[in-house]
């Protein structure tokens, strides 16, 4: 993996990531959807269901919603944000211009992914801190490694899926509606917005095929590490890994740096 750039491969990925991060932080819409909206959801769902007890075991609603919304935060920072920005950059000829330089493709992908992982970790940390100090949801120190690991695996998986899905989107105007059309139903059936214990069994089976439910479940289990060793449930991580492989295959087969809507 040699590059003609003056700096080495790792430094080059960090170079790319630092500029991607800067561009993200200056994008008001991306900031709102990624940083503010998950917190807003957490506050709303806790206001509505805060006093209730959910699930088979006696789990406080706030303890249920914090990890679920953390999954939503990771998906917003990785999948939603990435599909929208990559589609706009592809159709605007920005990806093509970057490919006209000696920068290798894996540096562009790696830099963008590292940015998403970093933002995901910040969002998850913010939501957990908010849950801890505002709703009094206990956060044992021993749970932190499992949560961080789950956040990184989830973020990478949803970045890869973002690259895959972007190949089916014609132009930037379609990007926002498409990602919401994919994610909103999954949020509803995957225990993010409503506790999935209230769903009919067949719907829970449908949800268990998709990665959203496993990311939320992964966070929820990490939260109670006492019950699950170090708090990593390998079946959930395994499903995420399978989706990452599917996404990777689709992306490798279909991803193009050139605009779809280019004229002759």
């Amino acid at each position: 993996m040699t590059t003609p750039a003056a700096r080495g491969p790792v430094a080059l990925v960090l170079h790319q990531g630092s500029f991607d991060l800067r561009a993200f932080l200056r994008n008001r819409q991306a900031r709102f959807f990624t940083l503010a909206l998950p917190l807003l959801f957490l506050v709303i769902f806790n206001s509505v269901f805060g006093g209730h007890v959910v699930g088979p075991g006696p789990i406080k609603a706030s303890a249920y919603y914090v990890p679920g919304i953390a999954a939503l935060g990771v998906i917003a920072a990785s999948f939603v944000n990435l599909v929208i920005s990559i589609t706009a950059q592809r159709e605007g000829g920005i990806l093509k211009r970057r490919r006209a330089t000696p920068v290798p493709a894996w540096v562009l992908v790696g830099g963008r992914t590292i940015t998403a992982v970093g933002i995901s970790l910040v969002v998850v940390a913010g939501l957990l801190a908010f849950g801890r100090f505002v709703y009094g949801v206990k956060l044992p120190t021993s749970a932190v490694p499992g949560i961080a690991f789950t956040a990184v695996v989830g973020s990478v998986t949803f970045c890869v899926l973002g690259y895959a899905v972007s190949t089916f989107i014609q132009d930037e105007d379609a990007a926002q509606p498409v990602v919401q059309a994919i994610m909103l139903p999954l949020y509803f059936i995957s225990g993010i917005f409503i506790p999935n214990i209230t769903l009919p069994p067949w719907l829970r089976h449908v949800a268990s095929v998709f990665p959203v439910q496993h990311l939320a479940a992964g966070f929820r289990h990490s939260y109670l590490p006492g019950a699950h060793g170090i708090g990593i449930v390998w079946s959930d991580i395994g499903v995420l890994a399978i989706w990452a492989l599917i996404g990777l295959t689709v992306a490798i087969l279909r991803f193009s740096w050139l605009p779809k809507t280019a004229s002759g």
């Binding site: 040699t2 590059t3 003609p4 750039a5 003056a6 700096r7 080059l12 170079h15 790319q16 500029f19 800067r22 561009a23 993200f24 932080l25 200056r26 994008n27 920005s85 706009a88 950059q89 605007g92 000829g93 920005i94 093509k96 211009r97 970057r98 490919r99 006209a100 330089t101 000696p102 920068v103 290798p104 050139l258 605009p259 280019a262 002759g264």
Partner: protein
């Protein structure tokens, strides 16, 4: 320095379905020259450039750019080539300077950032977010981004399309600056005046074929093409009253008389002698050699 051409194309063909978008062309661009590639929309210009830039595959032919086949282009080759693409938005969320910092990191030996900003005249805008620049300024930033790696060869694909005249002048000035740096420039355009102003050599493509090649002065036999002399005769005088040697040159007479001639000075002299002898003036007398635009329109004319 090697004497081999920077760009060398032999028998290049690109077929889409049943149509040859590029139907077997030869091109050669020497080191240090500004080469203009002219042609109407859909003539195969952009297809050819994208093959040379390594973005498209070809159906047939031999292509060598800086001694390498662009279909097998790697990072080391891209380090030596800059490209200003026909359509490319500004880097979102980055200033002019940050955009250049990002791109300079991609290269082995990038140019100085401030110097490059000055070269395209964007010093005042260095801290402005790139998407907030005007169209002309954004295009100059594109040139700066293509230049930051200090390439030997730069592709400019229709760099001034949609510009107002002042912005075009500024852009031309920047491109002239590339010549001073010793860069080889491959310029595509459909503006004749742009090619005439900037290019050392021009090739015209139409219907996927090269229909003419030459310097701005000689393209399509422009230097040996007939000049036209035009004037309006006063009331009561007609082209039939002209002396025989001029009468033989009349190409048209519709209120205004048009003569075509290979020796404009001789025939303007004869015309003046005749008119002065009769005491008439020719206030709208006009002598014109064919413009590059005339040559181009003739070359690229669709068969009727």
């Amino acid at each position: 320095m090697s004497v081999e051409p920077v760009v060398s194309v032999r028998g290049l063909r690109k077929r889409y379905g049943q149509v040859d978008a590029v139907a077997g062309i030869d091109l050669e661009v020497e080191r240090g020259e500004i080469f203009a590639f002219l042609g109407p929309n859909g003539a195969g210009k952009t297809t050819t450039v994208e093959i040379l830039e390594g973005f498209r595959t070809r159906t047939a032919g031999e292509v060598s750019v800086l001694g390498v086949d662009p279909a097998e282009a790697d990072g080391a080759w891209r380090d030596r080539v800059g490209a200003v693409l026909q359509e490319s938005n500004a880097e979102p969320g980055l200033t002019v300077r940050e955009s250049l910092q990002l791109y300079s990191g991609y290269y082995r030996e990038p140019r100085d950032i401030d110097e490059t900003i000055a070269l395209v005249g964007l010093q005042e805008k260095a801290e402005t977010l790139a998407p907030q620049l005007s169209g002309g300024q954004r295009r100059r930033l594109d040139v700066a981004l293509a230049l930051i790696g200090d390439p030997e060869l730069i592709f400019l694909d229709e760099p001034t399309t949609g510009f107002d005249p002042a912005a075009r002048r500024t852009a031309w000035h920047v491109i002239e600056g590339l010549r001073a740096l010793g860069k080889t420039v491959f310029l595509t355009t459909h503006y004749m005046d742009e090619a005439e102003e900037l290019a050392d050599r021009i090739a015209v493509i139409a219907g996927g074929r090269i229909v003419a090649e030459g310097t701005p002065g000689t393209l399509g036999g422009r230097n040996s093409m007939a000049s036209t002399i035009r004037f309006t005769l006063p009331e009561g005088t007609g082209a039939d009253d002209l002396p025989a040697e001029l009468r033989a040159l009349v190409a048209s007479e519709d209120g205004r008389v048009t003569l075509t001639t290979q020796t404009p000075l001789v025939h303007v002299g004869a015309l003046a002698e005749w008119a002065l002898g009769r005491g008439i003036d020719l206030p709208d007398l006009d002598v014109r050699r064919p413009t590059l635009e005339d040559v181009y329109l003739e070359l690229t004319e669709e068969p009727a």
